[in-house]
Subunit: 115 residues, 2 copies
Amino acid sequence: MIISEMAQLTQISEYTLRYYEKKELIAVSRDARGRRNYDENDIEWIRFIQRLKETGMPLRNIKKYADLRAKGDQTVHERLEMLEAHRIFVVAEQQKWAQNLYNLDAKIEYYRKKD
Amino acid sequence: MIISEMAQLTQISEYTLRYYEKKELIAVSRDARGRRNYDENDIEWIRFIQRLKETGMPLRNIKKYADLRAKGDQTVHERLEMLEAHRIFVVAEQQKWAQNLYNLDAKIEYYRKKD
DNA sequence: GGTTGACTTAGACCATAGTCTAAGCACTAT
DNA sequence: ATAGTGCTTAGACTATGGTCTAAGTCAACC
């Protein structure tokens, strides 16, 4: 799979895909012509990056994770620890969103009465 | 209440408080000496701004809301509409977080077995 | 043989949201 | 008096995460 297809599939621009590669979040192999050749594995990995990003993990941490991943199975434990730490963050964020939604609803209720 | 107290209370730096004022998110009155004099109303308003920010509303939208607020009660309906639109956004974000947490947990489970 | 779309390096540019400094003035407290 | 804290304007600088362009190469398609 070529970069344009990948961009389409993941909704990540070609610029950004190259940018991620330069930042060493992704390592992509090339075909005989030197073009990036994304495989199933890359797709999965990029989707995972997307999820980490959506849950507020900065690229530098994603990079750390990518580095561990590149080192192979002996880093599974470390990766697990990263994910578990991130999980705690995500849960805390969720609670913040819930609280904020609650407050927002109270405000909306208040305005509805005024309106 | 003077700016340093306000910064302490809200955990927003003095720089940022002045920045918000320059951006016209807040209008603060001055005392006889020309110093910013925050009152209860300002505190409540700034807390509200914090919540909007925490739920991902960009400053330019908060500014729009602030402008409406400044115009008084005849804008209650418009403000309500803004909040309702934002509510939809917040709920969608929450769902995204829930989905991401679910995926994260699946990944963690997978790694736990490998570990 | 021209167009298309990929590649490269390097760097400019953008938005967002601050953060900080300089320089000079004003007032209060020690 | 002088330190401390507030004020002002104006602009520099930071971090994050892209986004885009230039300039040149290369291979494939029509």
